[in-house]
Amino acid sequence: SQKIEQNSEALNIQEGKTATLTCNYTNYSPAYLQWYRQDPGRGPVFLLLIRENEKEKRKERLKVTFDTTLKQSLFHITASQPADSATYLCAPSRGYIPTFGRGTSLIVHP
């Protein structure tokens, strides 16, 4: 069965540093992959989408890479701010229904 792995341990970084979150998947060949942000007690919010034929996608301080050989996506937040503290979920997909990972909690310290 499909398996999505995101680091269950929280990532603690200092403000201004680059945060890098990892998403690995197995038994799956997604056509695209999405990243969502989820704040405590709220629903996930879409951030970025990258297709299987794209290596990298950027949006403001966010960057996503997608390596279909390694079956891995990396999510980067540059110049991180305390307001970036949240849980980030990856969601690979082949059709219209994604498979969500459990997310990695990011804590940015001032």
Partner: protein, 116 residues
């Protein structure tokens, strides 16, 4: 603004007492989903409607039912809530992109269900 709305935000029910959660959307999306999310876990898809077509996940308990009376509204019915059903319930919508296209989900704020 177009959005996904869930009511109530917090729901307390008693063990075995039926409860209904509601979701509405102004996005005019074809697909509406219900997810169950427990602390530090991935959202678990319970079922979804593509237009009027109901799609149940294989491991969704019979205790969970859903109704979609029109494009805008979708309901989650829990017939006999158990303590293990306490969770955040998330409603989401998407266009329902067909083969070769991408799709993105829009979530509501969630309903936190407590079972006493």
């Amino acid at each position: 603004d177009a959005m996904v709305i869930q009511n109530p935000r917090y729901q307390v029910t008693q063990f075995g007492k039926p409860v209904t959660l509601s979701c509405s959307q102004t996005l005019n999306h074809n697909v509406m989903y219900w997810y169950q999310q427990k602390s530090s876990q991935a959202p678990k898809l319970l079922f979804h409607y593509y237009d009027k077509d109901f799609n149940n996940e294989a491991d969704t308990p019979d205790n969970f039912q859903s109704r979609r009376p029109n494009t805008s509204f979708c309901f989650l019915d829990i017939r006999s809530p158990g303590l293990g059903d306490a969770a955040m319930y998330l409603c989401a919508t998407s266009r329902g992109a067909t083969s070769g296209l991408t799709d993105t989900q829009y979530f509501g704020p969630g309903t936190r269900l407590t079972v006493l």
